[in-house]
């Protein structure tokens, strides 16, 4: 349980440092950079396209979401040398998002001959970040050309590649690591960073996640038949979270990043504060009861949400907005039921809720952090982005939640306390609570 128990009189808990967000960064299929992404989510811009390559490879689902990164954007963060033989899209997106969050927070990187930034750490997760590079390596190895792998195959394909690249660019001197918990990776990363700051082990933590793209990453999901195959001709309508006609998710990619910082540190340097991280919780359904490798155990999901609320000192009715996991599969109604039961609210009392996946599909390990950036932007600027492709709300959902709580047009409304959760393969759950006006 991660939390600051603001209202708790327990002295041990009160000793915890409060944690705020001072920087954001994102590389999303519908917008590269926070500014472009902010305007994209306000207008419901889709980042889903048809990929002829997937059609040629006999994929059932031939639509997907991939950030469109210009050469100029790439060269803002990478040197020519770093781009030599570089073929790891996850690391590309992660570095761009991470460095944007660092800049947005107004934190200087360490000079080449300076001491590292001892109080700044990095938790940047991924599922896979360099499968394209790995594929290259396999072809070379199989033809007896191991030498041709060169000096960067390891860094580009190791799980911790993304945190290692960022660590070097920034000069981070605190813990620098990569977490991996499938689709909950990004949300778990922020809670791991939160814990290090709350406990006084770090002052600033760059947290986020990334996922690479392409047939190798997406093929396994296509084989499982969890992707939609019904919208190859109309990609923008393919990802349909909470819809009665949802028919599977659309695979995506990208990266999101948040700079977490102790409130004291942020105030001390006069940093812009987006929101406070009140607390959260990570747990596992143990792949028991309804839970399995691929399906969530509802009692664990509810427990995760309730414990996150408790850790944050927040009651269910105080939640104004939920950024759902909601992937556009048959499990969406179950997720809504779990939120309703855990928060103890339904009908018109249920919070506003939306899913970014309607616009950019499911970014797998990157989904949590891209959605966190979307959630914090909505909290900070007071709006709820429209739910794409959800005109035909699933009847099991409309039986629980009032239609107006699932807007299909952008809603302008001040938000105070919000929740974001992610659930992933392996029955992992993560939920985090943010507040805007607590500072």
């Amino acid at each position: 349980m991660y939390g600051n128990h603001q209202r708790d009189v327990n002295t041990e808990e009160i000793m915890k440092n409060r944690v705020v967000i001072t920087g954001l960064g994102i590389v999303s299929p519908n917008g590269v950079g926070v500014k472009a992404f902010h305007s994209a989510i306000r207008s419901g811009k889709s980042g889903i396209r048809h990929f002829p390559e997937l059609e040629e490879l006999n994929f059932s689902c031939q639509i997907a979401a991939k950030p469109e990164v210009s050469e100029e954007q790439k060269r803002k963060y990478f040197t020519d040398l770093q781009l030599r033989n570089f073929n790891s899209s996850g690391i590309l997106y992660g570095v761009m998002a991470g460095m944007e969050a660092q800049e947005d927070a107004g934190i200087e990187t360490a000079g080449k001959n300076d001491e590292p930034l001892w109080d700044l750490g990095i938790i940047f997760g991924t599922g896979t970040s360099g499968t394209a590079k790995f594929r290259e390596a396999i072809y070379l190895l199989d033809s007896g050309k191991v030498k041709r792998l060169g000096s960067t195959t390891v860094a580009q394909t190791m799980a911790s590649g993304i945190s290692a690249y960022l660590g070097g660019m920034i000069g981070a001197g605190n813990q620098v690591t990569t977490n991996s918990s499938a689709c909950a990776t990004g949300t778990e990363a922020i809670l791991m960073g939160y814990d290090l700051i709350a406990s006084g082990k770090a002052r600033q933590m760059l947290c986020g996640s990334c996922s690479d793209d392409g047939p190798v990453v997406w093929g396994g999901f296509d084989a499982m038949k969890v992707l939609t195959w019904k919208h190859n001709q109309d990609p923008e309508h393919g990802s349909r979270p909470m819809s009665a006609t949802a028919s599977g998710f659309v695979p995506g990619s990208g990266a999101g990043a948040l700079m977490l910082e102790s409130l004291t540190s942020a105030q001390g340097r006069g940093a812009k504060i987006y929101a406070e991280v009140l607390g959260g919780h990570v747990n596992n359904g143990g792949q028991r009861q309804q839970g399995s490798m691929t399906a969530p155990n509802s009692s664990a999901v509810q427990r995760c949400i309730k414990t996150a609320l408790e850790a944050s000192g927040v009651d269910g009715y105080e939640i104004d907005y939920i950024n759902g996991h909601l992937t556009a599969t048959v499990k969406d109604p179950t997720e809504i039921r779990n939120w309703s039961d855990a928060l103890g609210t339904k009908g018109v009392d249920f919070p506003y809720i939306n899913s970014l996946k309607g616009m950019i599909g499911h970014g797998l390990a990157a989904s949590g952090s891209m959605e966190l950036v979307a959630a914090v932007l909505q909290l900070h600027h007071g709006f709820i982005f429209p739910n794409s492709n959800c005109e035909d709300l699933h009847p099991e959902i409309s039986a629980i939640v009032d239609r107006n709580r699932i807007p299909i047009q952008t809603v302008s409304r001040p938000l105070n306390t919000i929740a974001k959760a992610s659930f992933g393969f392996g029955d992992v759950n993560a939920c985090v609570i943010f507040r805007q006006n607590s500072i």
Binding site: T79, R84, R148
Partner: protein
């Protein structure tokens, strides 16, 4: 191929691996690749791959071990090209 011709062809290959604060003018014949030019030692294997492609030769593990300076590189290449 004269050693001057090899040197001319070698300079842009090495230049690609120089850190940002080292200019290509420093690629003198007696310059030590890692100590003076500050090329990351991990990148020496990439320099070798590029040399192999450019000169259509193949370097051995022993060649790599004896590679310290630009002159070393010129000598190794000259030897292979002649053969």
């Amino acid at each position: 191929m004269t050693s001057e011709e090899i040197y001319t062809k070698l300079q842009p290959i090495i230049a690609a691996y120089l850190p940002e604060d080292v200019s290509a003018e420093n690629i003198k014949k007696d310059a030590d690749l890692t100590q003076e030019l500050n090329i990351n030692s991990a990148h020496l294997v990439d320099v070798v791959l590029d040399v192999e492609d450019a000169f259509d030769i193949e370097l051995s593990n022993n060649d790599l071990e004896s590679l310290r300076t630009v002159n070393d590189a010129i000598a190794i290449i000259a030897n292979k090209v002649e053969n």
